[in-house]
């Protein structure tokens, strides 16, 4: 089933043309990885999906972005962001306790029942493989957790809102290999329930976890295909060059 449909997407920041004429689809329950060198528009593309680019005052977009056939610009922005969660490049816990971090989204959406909140926090932490490590530290400041734990906390925090799509923006760029493996395990498990878009600078990570891979270069979508195809028989010379490490 098609989750996202993107038609003729163009994005400008002021006079900078950041995304050029992108057409693609994102399927339900797949991990789509987006690779490409720096300033190729990967993150801009990702932030267009939950309209976080809107915060930028000189941001301009044309084309259509549809979530399940509904124009995302026509939906209430808070409702849209509840459906489309995001995990940022650096672990960014809010200056709250572990529990309050995970409960934050649900609370903002009006959940007051303590028992339900507690259940939701536990479920989310279990899904992010963090529960066993933090179940006795729920009232500690989230900043006391290690970097890898903080990033999984951020995943749990996004899950607790109950999204349909998860956007990962280079989620492992600040993590050691073991923490990275844990986050990747979590992602593989999560795709059973969620649609995942993963922006990554790490080509090997894309090869490990993604069902399909999209290659961006200077704002253009060069190629999108099944991950093994992209890595074994890319159609475009530039894709081949990038994954072989000739540039980027």
């Amino acid at each position: 089933m098609v989750k996202f449909e993107i038609h003729n997407l163009n994005i400008w920041f002021g006079s900078v043309h950041a995304i050029k004429q992108v057409n693609m689809e994102i399927q339900s329950n797949e991990i789509l990885s987006v690779i490409g060198p720096a300033s190729s528009g990967k993150t801009t593309f990702l932030r267009a999906l939950n309209r976080l680019n809107d915060l930028n005052t000189n941001y301009k977009m044309t084309g259509a972005l549809e979530l399940e056939r509904e124009d995302i610009c026509a939906v209430d922005i808070e409702v849209l962001r509840r459906k489309i969660g995001m995990v940022f490049a650096l672990p960014l816990p809010l200056p709250l306790s572990v529990f309050d971090n995970v409960a934050y989204g649900a609370r903002m959406h009006g959940e007051r029942n303590k028992r339900l909140l507690g259940q939701r926090v536990e479920d989310a932490l279990r899904q992010a493989y963090l529960w066993e490590e933090v179940k006795d530290r729920l009232n500690e400041s989230a900043f006391k957790l290690s970097g890898g734990q903080q990033q999984r906390l951020c995943i749990a925090r996004t899950l607790a809102v109950g999204p349909e799509v998860m956007l990962f923006d280079e989620p492992c760029s600040g993590l050691d290999p073991i923490s990275t493996a844990k986050v990747e395990d979590a992602m593989l498990k999560l795709k059973e329930k969620y649609t995942i878009v993963l922006v990554t600078n790490n080509v090997k990570q894309a090869a490990r976890v993604a069902d399909r891979t999209a290659f961006f270069l200077t704002g253009e979508l060069i190629e999108i295909d099944k991950t093994d195809k992209i890595f074994t028989a890319p159609k475009d010379r530039r894709t081949d060059g990038y994954i072989r490490g000739k540039f980027g």
Partner: protein, 283 residues
């Protein structure tokens, strides 16, 4: 050559040290002199009695009460308005000609001499709004005077909350106001408090704004409503120093001591809050 550069360095150090000394010495001297001459005047009667014998004896209680009322009134007026304006400027306003003009106006407002505020208060509150010379007029005038301090420090406090926290909160589906209310404000409160207290200290010490709008030469009883005149410490000090002959130096320095203690105490509270906040800061 080497010796020469060493000598230049020593000369530079000497002047830098001298400049530092020039700052510290006057502050130290003021405190030492005021404490030395004022402390002997301080006793329970001085703090709790009304002025007697044409203000040459008795206490300064009405002036202390007046100053406390004025400062409280100023803050009740200035804190909500200043904070709301700061939230607007830091979180909502776009960067355009208008907001740049507003910011410029606030900076300039901070530079207006206090006597001009006094005259403004006289024209607006005392005469135009017919509040008369009263605690209300004085508080409002002081409030306007400290508004720029409160707006500027609050804005800095709000803007020092990392932008990423806002993005995270919004990405979780919180509204803009929820983000401000639950993430930005709680983390800015210590900075806002610090600015508020600094504003309080300034309001407590100013003479010119209250001269036209509230301060009484001598009142035998305490004010009973916000439409009464009141005595205030800075003005009282001015009167007993220049307008009343043969006032004992002890009384003058005692009054100065009380005023100085009040203001320094407020600044100390501000410093403590800031220090505690820095230690607690988690990012």
């Amino acid at each position: 050559m080497k010796r020469n550069s060493y000598r230049t360095q020593m000369i530079a150090f000497f002047f830098l040290f001298l400049a530092m000394l020039l700052i510290v010495v006057p502050v130290g001297l003021i405190i030492v002199i005021i404490v030395q001459k004022g402390l002997p005047a301080i006793n329970w009667q001085f703090l709790s009695d009304i002025p007697r014998q044409g203000m040459r004896a008795g206490g300064i209680f009405p002036a202390i009460v007046g100053t406390v009322y004025l400062v409280m009134g100023a803050i009740i007026f200035a804190l909500p308005i200043g904070l709301l304006a700061a939230i607007y400027l830091s979180e909502y306003s776009k960067d355009n000609m208008l907001t740049r003009l507003i910011r410029l106006a606030i900076v300039n407002l901070a530079g207006v001499p206090s006597v001009v505020y006094g005259l403004f208060g006289l024209a607006l509150f005392v005469v135009f709004f017919k509040f008369g010379a009263s605690i209300l007029s004085g508080s409002l005038t002081l409030g306007i005077m400290i508004l720029p301090i409160i707006i500027t420090t609050s804005r800095e406090a709000l803007e020092s909350v990392p932008y990423s926290f806002r993005e995270v909160s919004l990405s979780l589906g919180a509204s803009k106001w929820q983000t401000i209310r639950h993430i930005v404000l709680p983390n800015a409160i210590p900075g806002i408090l610090t600015g508020t207290i600094l504003g309080l200290g300034r309001a407590a010490g100013e003479t010119a704004p209250i001269l036209f709008t509230v301060a009484a030469f001598y009142l035998p009883q305490l004010p009973s409503s916000i439409f009464d005149q009141a005595m205030a410490l800075p003005y009282h000090l001015y009167i007993i120093s220049t307008q009343v002959p043969n006032v004992d130096a002890k009384v003058r320095y005692g009054t100065a001591f009380v005023l100085l203690t009040l203001v320094l105490f407020m600044n100390l509270v501000a410093v403590i809050i800031r220090y505690k906040f820095r230690k607690k800061k988690k990012w």
